[in-house]
Amino acid sequence: MAKKQKAKKQKTKKRKAAKKSSARMAGRRAISVATSADKTVKQRVAAMAAAPLAVCESEKDLQAMLKVLSDSSEPIAVRLAALQSLGAAAFSVLSFESCRADYIATLRKVADDPDPELRQRVLGILMREKDGYAQRKLLDGLKNPAKALLPPEKALQLLSYDVHADAYSVARDILKKPPNDEAKREALRLLAADAKAVPLFEKVLRDKKELRENRQIAASALHALHPDKLQQSARKILLDKSDYADIKATSLTALEQFGDEEALGKDKALLQSINRFRASKAPAKYKQTARRFLSKYDQ
């Protein structure tokens, strides 16, 4: 009986080893196709998808993949596929250990590649690693647009991945003179982690001329940074007959979820204005928020 079990175990072990070896071989073959200039772009891109399994199996294969990524004479579709493949391999931190240093160096090298999509993706990966090189490049580009590797809105978005990046002052400069609406929005998003930005967000939230998306960002930022200030602004917005329905609904949600129930129940002016909002021509989904709020106070 014991002999039989031992034989079975050995068989399973052999099967697993064979499977692993076969997967390894397939991975190596994939890298060989992916890095071969003789194959078509389509063949190479398809092979890249199978490459992550084997990318760290040999230093030669890794270097071949990194060469494809950094070689601007390679077709961009193949380079992007190589980046994706390496990124997938990097996800497995333990097995990527021996590849990491070369990978980071290559990403930095490619960060100012002529192709904008590759540049953006590479800088995104580096910023997720909180890389000082990428951070410096992005900040330099925001301060001096002639050096910019990415549009300002994208640079701000990537800088916001690292709360410790020194990006608050540059975001505030952009808010003073935004190059476009998207850049302004991303600057606001970035400043949502800055505890000193509370007055800014109060102003944006109360400003009816401001884009509604920005006002929503301001409400969310205030909730994170200074919930009491959000409550105060929310009340003022609800008392204002001329403000927009979606902003009122956001304000209502803030009060409903986080407000002082006892104080709200006694606030007759507020309850009246919410009653008016419920009876208004606002979209049904917003009026539903008002109904839910009022039901808490038997209105």
Binding site: E59, E97, A105, R136, H164, D166
Partner: protein, 392 residues
Amino acid sequence: MRNATIERALSEPQFAALVDALAADPDRREQLAELLREDHALYNDRGAATVVRMRGWVLLALARVGVTDAALIFVLEELDTGIDAYLVACAARALRSYPHPDATLAPFVARALANIRYRDEPVSLESYGEYVVSATGSSAVSELLATLAWLGPHARGVLPELDALRAQSGLTRKLRLDLDRALQAIRGSAYGEGAATPACCGGALADARSTSTFAPDSRRDCGPVRSIVLQDQDGRSITFADFFCQRPSIVVFFYTRCDNPMKCSLTVTKLARVQKLLAARRLADKIHSAAITYDPAFDLPERLRVYGQDRGVRMDADHRMLRAVEDNDALRKHFELGVNFVESLVNRHRIEVYILDAEGRIAVSFARIHWDEADVVARAAAVLERDEFRFA
């Protein structure tokens, strides 16, 4: 001594030139260690990545001129808790210039190796602020292995960790060769059998002085912070005097947005362990404990509560997570906190733990390198005993 000529508004190239000038002048070299204090005005309002570049350059200057006993603690701190590959590489290189290698240094290097191996990066240690964009050059792991080789037989205590690393497949061929060289040096063939002499009187680690004890008559009065209002995890307000000037206390500093798991998260987790040890010794109602945030504007009560809860911290009237409602600067000055800020956010801080006596004065401080929970509790119990004896 702070040098009055050091301007806080130096550009990075000016800072690098200043460091080079200090290193070149034997009479001013000792100021290099001073530049590694987090609270130095030079680090005010700099981003974390800039602080990394600046500190790295100071460490590399120390590597050139030799790490002194005063500077050693900064080097060990980086090895103990650093997660930035560049700074760890700089610290590893700097340690090799310390004139008294001994066995107490090896665990720091081994720990750094374990912390950094999955975050390794290529580094350039030749010029200020340079980032490597090619695969050539050094890396944090490579520098650490060179430091282990430099320690030679002094690093025998960490051989099991290194043998385990050798048995794994994670290193590149080049690093594997570096590791083999280190192993060879440690096993003695390069330095001769028995070259490792036991560390005298606690060795280099004792010279590094991470713990300071203050006699009762030399303790700083807490007058300037007595009336500071602190808010706890439940939003309750209490003055510094009302919480800290009743019984001895154990105080740690932290902030919830710290991204180094070896620092704030671990410190608060260890505070929870301290609280358990206090309870086991029936001291939980005789010794207060608190975790105070460096970042009071962001760390609102709800954040404090969740952060403490997630790390098993006991929170009640005697044990609290706290934020200064106002005048955080006075608190910072009183404790001489090792922290600096970029705008409202921490850009760099050290590990720091304090034992306060029943008058809220600092009796013992632990800074920079990891502290032992049982040791902190034992010392706090000793402070309690002395206070009880004094007031009896």
